[in-house]
Symmetry: C2
């Protein structure tokens, strides 16, 4: 199910495209970079997600008859609309692999295509990568703090409409174990799970009977919600009764779920009741406005919670709720391009570039990436991108090129990855990030530097524009 | 384009549905309320949006063969899956009209259907209403402060994936004039608009030539982006040159756009340059991380900005980014139902209910709504829902019933409304809300009370459950 069509875009992309077409500037080659300027959540890293969806959608990228009829009503030129009829994306994409750990101000994905191709895909590319990277990062923060506990996405009802569909996917990449989202489970092959709602028990009035009926007909992975009336006096005792009845049938209750009140307190009290009843295998699931900070607090209190169900704060990526990724022109028609800004951090970096992750002789990440021109060979010094007198020698460090060809002339140049493979890659790469970049408060700043040649080129173009 | 299928749901809805089906509890009638507990943005009101999409989707609500094949792999019962094959929503819905102003703890939409029908539609209903109401409210706050200035949605690239599609719709309901989102324009009939990107000018290097080409091929509603290199020394002077050239051709430049720096300062300086050049008709558009507070500040500074382009903060509904609407069982199988909570504000209200907006003898809103049982006649006193000794006499007040039949037995019971009609209704209703509820800081608290009979019923059920 791809929700993307070629009109899933901003009008100005088409306005610009028409001018490019009419002025015969559209087919010259351009280079655009996708990057962001700040990690979300005041964190020390970002998890890159959404790439597979972008590549899938690009293959399908075309204007339908209906699209063109609509554009006709918006004063587009007939010859331009005729051109759009056969429009396909036939450019190349170099990208960090999905699931990798990335940092601000480094190109994460580079598009090399005709100017019109590169321009027309901008909006949907940003829409998809910004959102999924935001959510994968949020999920990864919870995975980091929840250690080996189970993390489940319950957020669909509070998600931004169908954005919830991709939130479930991104959460899995970030380290979640599954989702309640059936459609995402079906289409992305995600493990799905769920418990019961308060309304189920309310519809019975009789909580014990409600539990009995549920256990009878959904005995596998059965989780009973114990806080509809009174958690410790009614919910947990009734769940224990049903767990015992399940034992007689050779079944096992998977868990009880707490959805309100002081979760640490209720988890400890419930654990005690379950253990006293000989039900040490029955797990405790907790939900209710969880995020990485609440989970951290629960873990520090040693709350005996085995399963965290996370909703709103995961799928909306609270509090940031957006990753401000941008897409900037770096090269066109044989010339490097730059955008000047009074804010030096917003000046763009010209030319096609490669990003290198630096490692020591044991292959361990040293906490720095270096950006160089694709046209230059090895460079031995990297400079701070904005501050003077700050540089670092790269002698003796290994370099892993992060931007790999993923699409060449409109065709995927590597096999589709399963979501499990992407999630595994995220886990492996995240394990290589030193811990000081992972903490929530004042994480260490990961260095991203640029080659001397790139710096010289940027300085040259700035001077050129100031002199005009 | 409906993105919703019957599997766009949480797994637990299907788990519960199976138990209802197997225990023959599924066809008894139930009543569910949709409501929320807190206005977003610490505001004094919420704009209700998303209803038309819900009604449209409900008509299409069904399980496909593919859905059922998938559910088979998830251990669902064969007879239940057979039942789902012909499942349709044939219930009734009573709702506040889309675009109306609503408040916490009042039923906004009431579903009366068989238990299984009401349960299976919960997730998508919450997903759609929560998100669109959030965004319509955010948009309305900006409309309120921007007065008669033009407001445009530019947020698609930062939206939550395809959530951006519905964000554009909701923004229009909330008072925006249009969107850059072409797909939303096409499918919802929204006015679309847009300007140009920095990359357009970068691709030329020569800003003046870029402006000339753009004005030549997109002369209608032409907006030139003036901050790529130097706003006042290059961008505005070049725009003036092109505006003068357009005049010779009998055309008019619509606006220039500022996208960085101090918008108040640059707007004032740009206005001066334009006016000095005899271009007082050329408008000024501004964008860059706008929200209602930035717009308020710009208005207070009398920045001569005619068009606000709002992106991220609109479409993600920052800072809240979610409306916590819930869907609670109030009645089932002939009996009122309740959910108890230690937090008294979370105790649900039993029975089918109606909500009345109270007006004085001139038809002006008095700042109070009253909730009564649908089964009771007129009532003369309303009580505070949670606090004792607080009540209000309703004598002499007019009452407008807010929950109207919008779907009866699965069929829409009123004609589809155009988005323009809904936006007009929003404007009309919002105009009736007294100003003290509209301010951003400490808005007046709109009173929502309950009838004595409803209160007695709730108290009775609480006592009943405590005695069990």
């Amino acid at each position: 199910m791809s929700l993307y069509t070629a009109t899933y875009t901003d009008l100005y992309q088409l306005s610009m495209a028409q001018v490019y077409f009419k002025k015969d500037r559209h087919s010259q080659q351009a280079v655009f970079d996708y990057y962001f300027r700040k990690n979300p959540f005041n964190g020390g890293y970002t998890i890159f997600a959404g790439l597979e969806n972008v590549l899938d959608s690009l293959k399908e990228f075309r204007f339908t008859e209906e699209d063109l009829d609509y554009l006709k009503t918006q004063n587009f030129d007939a010859s331009f609309l005729e051109y759009l009829k056969d429009f396909r994306f036939r450019g190349s994409i170099f990208s960090v692999l999905e699931g990798d750990v990335v940092f601000p101000n480094q190109p994460i994905l580079r598009v090399e295509a005709s100017l019109i191709e590169a321009q027309l895909i901008e909006t949907f590319l940003l829409n998809m990568l910004n959102f999924q990277s935001l959510i994968a990062t949020k999920a990864c923060r919870m995975r980091y703090i929840a250690k080996d506990r189970t993390l489940l996405d319950f957020g669909l009802r509070r998600a931004h409409g169908p954005g919830g569909y991709y939130a479930s996917r991104a959460a899995f990449i970030g380290g979640f174990n599954g989702t309640s989202n059936v459609l995402a489970g079906k289409n992305f092959g995600l493990p799905i799970s769920g418990t019961m709602a308060h309304s189920f028990i309310q519809s019975y009035g009789d909580e014990l009977q409600a539990f009995r009926d549920f256990a009878e007909h959904r005995p596998k992975n059965c989780v009973l919600l114990v806080d509809t009336y009174n958690t410790l006096k009614s919910g947990v005792p009734n769940a224990i009764t049903v767990a015992k009845e399940m034992e007689v049938r050779g079944q096992r209750l998977l868990a009880i779920r707490l959805d309100s009140g002081d979760l640490a307190y209720f988890a400890k009290q419930s654990r005690k009741l379950l253990d006293e009843a000989g039900l040490d295998y029955v797990q405790i699931a907790a939900s209710n406005q969880l995020d990485e900070y609440v989970i951290k607090s629960l873990q520090e209190q040693q709350a005996p919670i085995d399963i965290y169900g996370v909703g709103t704060n995961l799928v909306i990526g609270k509090p940031d709720a957006a990753l401000g990724g941008v897409y900037k022109l770096a090269f066109y028609d044989g010339k490097p391009r730059i955008k000047i800004s009074e804010n030096i951090a917003k000046i763009t970096m010209p030319h096609a570039k490669q990003v290198y992750r630096l490692k020591n002789d044991k292959g361990e990440w040293v906490g720095s990436d270096a950006i160089g021109l694709t046209s230059e060979g090895s460079f031995e010094v990297m400079e701070h991108p904005f501050e003077v007198y700050k540089s670092m020698r790269l002698t003796g460090l290994q370099r892993e090129a992060l931007l790999q060809p993923v699409m060449e002339k409109g065709e995927r140049s590597f096999a589709t990855k399963t979501l499990q493979e992407i999630a595994d890659y995220r886990e492996k790469r995240f394990a290589q990030l030193p811990t000081e970049y992972k903490r929530f408060n004042n994480p260490h700043h990961y260095k991203v530097g640029i080659s001397e040649q790139l710096k010289e080129e940027r300085d040259r173009l700035i001077k050129l524009h100031k002199s005009l």
